[in-house]
Amino acid sequence: MKNKVIAVAALLLVLVLAGCGSSRVHFVGPAGSKLFLSHPEKEYTMPIVLELKQNESPKKLPVDAGGQSIRIVLPDGTRLKGYLHVYSISMDQVERLAEVPFSLSEEQIIQLKAGTAVTVIGFTGGRNQPVYKINLGVERE
């Protein structure tokens, strides 16, 4: 009887965990930038490490459709808008522990202000699996 209860609990746990894969993304900078995510609707200040829910197949990496809405307000007031895709990948222990970084360099910010759309893709170490993709464009300077 006790074994059965344990087995059912373990099965439930596995089912729950299977649908809740997440990836750790370290939003590094520019430091002081505000980050707004739509799911869940929250505001963060960079640098911050976030556990993001995996919701897309990595096969969709070349496709620019869907994705959750993301907004970044840079320290100088420049507003960026874009889409965030977090890919469902199976990570080993090492990859699960690692924080995949996201940051915007000076060059990228210049490109964004010139009207260019910037795409940043984060990869795991070792197997180079895509963890996230963020497409950004300038909304208002």
Partner: protein
């Protein structure tokens, strides 16, 4: 042949004779250059600029017309011609006429030189990029080699530890030493393995990273034919491609048509069919796509024009 049939045949002959024209002798009159720009925005009013490569079209005219133009251009003062030459060498439109050939050649030479310079610049940029890529590759290979070496060292240590353990075990078994000795060596092996695992963790954590790319809409300008005849229709084609991951809120295209080229504004068409407005003012054709262009979408705009006789007789400012 019956009389009726004969009459029909004669009528046909007369008709054909009346329709027949002496073959038209055409000659290069001018080279016109056409440019276009577009403005776009992800949100709000269009403000980011994108330019198309200019397109050159050779204008052909009947020989008689060309001679008239030759006479007209001969009557121009030498000062005017010199100014025209100077302008055409560095500007966008070449002029027809007697000086047209030389001016045209000069401008073509300037254009070729410009193209060559651009090509050289591009090659240099490519070389720099490939050099940078090569350096990055070499660095990556070195890092890989270091990591492999480190792993190898760890593995060797583990193997050595294993060997040591085996030897000690054998010794323990043979000499029947205490259990403590065996336990100590097992612990040691475990420690070595942990160290090896940690080194792998460190390497992989270091390798996790990101890469970036950028994209922006592009505008391409083409002429339906490389040559146009005076008085005939000439179609220009503009292709606006939204290669970004975003829908564009609005797109505004300005087509700088050369003088003497008149657009048939009512016949402008967009493929796919999008809502647009076209306005022709002071040599500029303004095409506004108010609802923008979706991500990944390409819009082809066909602009029919009529080439007038005075095409290429002045410059665009």
């Amino acid at each position: 042949m019956r009389p009726g049939q004969r009459a029909v045949a004669v009528l046909l002959l007369v008709l054909c004779a009346g329709c027949a024209r002496a073959p038209l002798r055409l000659q290069e009159v001018a080279v016109i250059r056409n440019e276009a720009t577009a403005r776009y925005a992800f949100v709000g009013r269009p403000r980011f600029l994108v330019c198309a490569e200019p397109v050159d079209v050779v204008v052909l005219g009947p020989v008689a017309a060309t001679e008239d133009r030759l006479a007209a251009s001969k009557s121009r003062s030498s000062a005017e011609n010199a100014a025209l030459e100077a302008r055409s060498a560095g500007s966008r439109v070449e002029v027809g006429g007697s000086t047209a050939e030389t001016v045209g050649k000069a401008s073509r030479a300037a254009s070729t030189k410009h193209e060559h310079a651009a090509r050289v610049e591009k090659e240099a940029a490519d070389a720099t990029t490939s050099e940078r890529e090569h350096a990055a590759r070499v660095e990556r290979e070195a890092a890989d080699a270091r990591s492999v070496e480190r792993e190898h060292v760890s593995r060797t240590e583990v193997a050595a530890a294993d060997a040591g353990t085996q030897v000690r075990l054998a010794e323990a078994r043979s000499s029947r030493t205490s259990f403590r000795a065996t336990q100590a060596s097992e612990t040691h092996r475990h420690e070595v393995r942990s160290a090896a695992y940690e080194s792998v963790v460190e390497d992989r954590t270091m390798a996790a990273g990101s890469m970036w790319s950028y994209s922006r809409p592009c505008l391409k300008k083409m002429a339906a034919t490389p040559q146009a005849v005076v008085g005939e229709r000439l179609d220009f084609i503009l292709e606006f491609r939204n290669e970004t991951a975003f829908d564009l809120a609005a797109v505004e295209i300005v087509d700088l048509l050369p003088p003497g080229v008149e657009p048939l504004v009512n016949r402008i068409s967009l493929t796919p069919s999008l809502r647009f407005s076209a306005d022709w003012k002071e040599g500029q054709l303004l095409i506004l796509i108010p609802h923008g262009v979706s991500r990944g979408q390409a819009v082809r705009i066909q602009i029919p024009t009529i080439v007038r006789e005075d095409a290429g007789d002045s410059t665009i400012d």
